[in-house]
C-alpha cells in the first residue's frame, strides 16, 4: 500500500503545497525589505502561541496564529514609532518568544520536548480542521500577496519614494508582517516553526540567481518553494524523518543548483559592459 493512500499523508501534501507557495510569496517582500530574519523571529513568537494553546487546552494552531500576528504588529510598531532598529526588534522577538514558549509549556505540565513537533514539523499531528484553516488562510495570504504585488514592490523597493507618492507605507509594512506571521503559523505542521524562515528565504535566494526582475524572482521562488515542500515531505515520509529538515535541505539543494547554473552561464557569457 502506497504511503500516499493514507489520509494523513494526503492532508500533509495539501499543507505542503500551501506552505511551499505562500512562504516564498511573502518571503520575496521580506527579503526585498532586508528583513530576512523576520520569519525566524515570528517563528519564535508563534512558539509562545503554541504553548499558550497547550496551557489552555485550545488548538495550538489557532493560538499560534493569533500570537504571531500580535508579535508582527508589535515589531512593526517598534520599528516605526519606538525608533528601534530592525535587528534589535527582531532580537526581542527571538528571546521573548522562546522564553515564553518554554515557560508556558512547563506550566502546562509538558516538557520542552513537546514543542519538538512544532519546531521541526510533524505530518501525523494534523487534524482535518487544522487543514481547513491552513488552506483558507494560505489562500488568503497568497491572494493578497499577488493582488497587492505592485504596491508591495513600490513600498519594499524604495519606502521613502513610496511615502512621498502617498502610498500607505505603514499599512503595507504592517500587512506584510501580518502575512508573514500567518504564513509561519500555518507552516508549523509541515516545515516547523524553527525552519519555516528558511522556506521564506531560500527559494527567493535561488530564484534571484536566475531571474533579473522582481516579478520573475517572485514567481520562480514560489515554484521552488512548492518543489522543496512537496519533495521534502515525500522524502521525509520515505525515510521516516521529520519533514522540516528534509524540506530545508531540498531548498538548499535547489539554491546550490541555481547558483551553479548562474556561475556556468556567467562563465560562458562574458559580462556586457555597462556604459555610463
Amino acid at each position: 500500500m502506497s504511503i500516499l493512500s493514507y489520509s494523513f499523508m494526503q492532508m500533509a501534501i495539501v499543507a505542503a503545497i500551501v506552505t511551499g507557495l505562500t512562504a516564498p510569496a511573502v518571503g520575496t517582500f521580506i527579503v526585498q525589505r532586508r528583513l530576512a530574519l523576520l520569519g525566524d523571529g515570528l517563528g519564535h513568537v508563534a512558539l509562545t502561541g503554541v504553548a499558550l494553546g497547550l496551557l489552555t487546552g485550545t488548538s495550538p494552531l489557532t493560538t499560534a496564529i493569533i500570537v504571531a500576528i500580535v508579535g508582527a504588529i508589535v515589531i512593526e510598531l517598534l520599528r516605526t514609532y519606538a525608533k528601534t532598529s530592525g535587528d534589535i526588534a527582531l532580537a526581542m522577538l527571538f528571546y521573548g518568544g522562546i522564553a515564553g514558549g518554554v515557560l508556558l509549556t512547563n506550566l502546562a505540565g509538558d516538557s520542552a520536548a513537546t514543542l519538538n513537533r512544532y519546531l521541526f514539523g510533524s505530518i501525523t499531528t494534523m487534524s482535518s480542521s487544522d487543514l481547513t484553516l491552513v488552506v483558507v488562510l494560505g489562500a488568503i495570504v497568497l491572494s493578497v500577496s499577488l493582488a497587492l504585488s505592485p504596491q508591495f514592490f513600490a513600498f519594499c523597493h524604495d519606502e521613502n519614494h513610496a511615502r512621498a507618492s502617498g502610498v500607505p507605507t505603514r499599512v503595507y509594512g504592517m500587512l506584510i508582517a501580518v502575512l508573514a506571521a500567518v504564513t509561519i503559523a500555518v507552516s508549523m505542521r509541515t516545515v516547523g516553526l524553527l525552519l519555516v524562515s528558511a522556506l521564506m528565504v531560500m527559494p527567493v535566494a535561488a530564484a534571484q540567481q536566475l531571474r533579473p526582475s522582481f516579478r520573475g524572482t517572485h514567481m520562480l521562488s514560489m515554484a521552488f518553494g512548492l518543489i522543496s515542500a512537496v519533495a521534502g515531505l515525500l522524502i521525509s515520509a520515505s525515510i521516516d524523518a521529520q519533514p522540516g529538515p528534509t524540506i530545508v535541505l531540498v531548498a538548499m539543494a535547489i539554491f546550490a543548483a541555481a547558483a551553479a547554473t548562474r556561475g556556468v552561464v556567467s562563465f560562458r557569457r562574458p559580462k556586457e559592459a555597462i556604459g555610463g
Binding site: 526585498q32 505592485p150 524604495d158 521613502n160 502617498g166 533579473p212 555610463g276
Partner: protein, 269 residues
C-alpha cells in the same frame, strides 16, 4: 496644467527633529511653470525642506500644494519625486522597467496594476533617459548615473505637474547630466513646475528661474529672475551676502562650489 498659479505655498515653516531646530520660519511660493532651485551646503536643511513639502516630515507653519493644505492633499500623482539614491544593490533584483512603473503607484495607492498605457509611457520614458537597452536589466547592475536616470523616469511617469528633485546631480556622469538637462528643458516646455535641491546649479543653470539659499535652516538669500541677471551682478550679489553671513557665523560659511556655477563667466542664458 496650472500655469502662473502657486503650486507650492509655504508659510512660517519650522521643523524640529529630536529637539534640534532644522528649519526656521521658511516662507516662499513656487508658481506654476516655474523652476526653483534650493541651494545650500550640507546640513543647511535642503533635503529636510523637500521631505517636509512631501509630507514626510512633521512641521509647524503651513504648506499648501496646488492650493490644498498638505494634510488634505491626496492628488500625489500630480507630483513627481526624485529621491536621493539609496542602495538597491542587495535584496531582490528589480528591473529598470519595474522601478519606473513603481512610479505609477501614486495613482494605484491601494490597489491596481499598471495599465497598458502606463507601460507604454514607461517604455517611452526609459528610451528618453537612454536606458532602452537596459529595460530588463536589474538596476543593481547599472552605474550610478544610469540608476539616477531610471529614477528620473520614475519621477516623470504620469506627466506630473510638479517635479521635486533632491540632489539629482550628485555622483552623476556627464552623459547623465546632459540627459537630465534635456529632460528638464522638455518638462518646462510641457509646463511643469520644478523644485530642485542642489549644491550647485551646474548644467541646469540656464533653466532655473529663481533660487533660494538656505543656511542653518533659514532662507538667507533669494534670487529672483536669475535668467535676467549677468554673472558679474550675481557674483556681487553672492559676495555681498556672503560677507554678511561670514560676519554672523563662520560655521555657516557657504563653500565656494555652492555658488560657482551661478557666477560662471558670461551672462546666464
Amino acid at each position: 496644467m496650472s500655469i502662473n498659479r502657486a503650486v507650492i505655498e509655504v508659510e512660517s515653516l519650522g521643523v524640529a527633529i529630536d529637539g534640534n531646530h532644522i528649519l526656521h520660519d521658511i516662507t516662499f511660493e513656487v508658481q506654476g511653470g516655474e523652476f526653483l532651485a534650493i541651494l545650500g551646503h550640507n546640513g543647511s536643511g535642503k533635503s529636510t525642506l523637500i521631505r517636509t513639502l512631501l509630507g514626510l516630515q512633521r512641521h509647524t507653519g503651513s504648506v499648501s500644494l496646488f492650493g490644498t493644505p498638505q494634510n488634505e492633499f491626496r492628488s500625489w500623482q500630480r507630483i513627481g519625486y526624485l529621491s536621493q539614491d539609496n542602495d538597491h544593490t542587495t535584496g531582490v533584483p528589480s528591473s529598470v522597467e519595474e522601478v519606473v512603473l513603481s512610479g505609477t503607484m501614486a495613482k494605484h495607492r491601494w490597489f491596481g496594476w499598471p495599465t497598458r498605457s502606463e507601460k507604454h509611457q514607461a517604455h517611452d520614458l526609459i528610451e528618453r533617459v537612454g536606458l532602452g537597452a537596459h529595460i530588463r536589466r536589474p538596476v543593481s547592475q547599472l552605474s550610478g548615473g544610469q540608476r539616477q536616470r531610471a529614477r528620473i523616469a520614475r519621477a516623470l511617469i504620469g506627466a506630473p505637474e510638479l517635479i521635486i528633485m533632491d540632489e539629482p546631480t550628485v555622483g552623476v556622469d556627464a552623459q547623465s547630466l546632459e540627459i537630465l538637462n534635456q529632460i528638464l528643458a522638455e518638462e518646462i516646455q510641457r509646463g511643469a513646475s520644478i523644485v530642485m535641491v542642489t549644491h550647485e546649479l551646474g548644467i541646469v543653470r540656464n533653466l532655473v528661474n529663481r533660487t533660494i539659499t538656505l543656511e542653518a535652516g533659514k532662507i538667507c538669500d533669494t534670487c529672483d529672475n536669475v535668467m535676467d541677471l549677468h554673472a558679474a551682478s550675481l557674483r556681487d550679489h553672492y559676495e555681498e551676502h556672503h560677507a554678511d553671513s561670514h560676519s554672523e557665523s563662520d560655521a555657516h560659511h557657504v563653500p565656494e562650489h555652492d555658488v560657482r556655477p551661478v557666477v560662471a563667466e558670461g551672462p546666464l542664458q
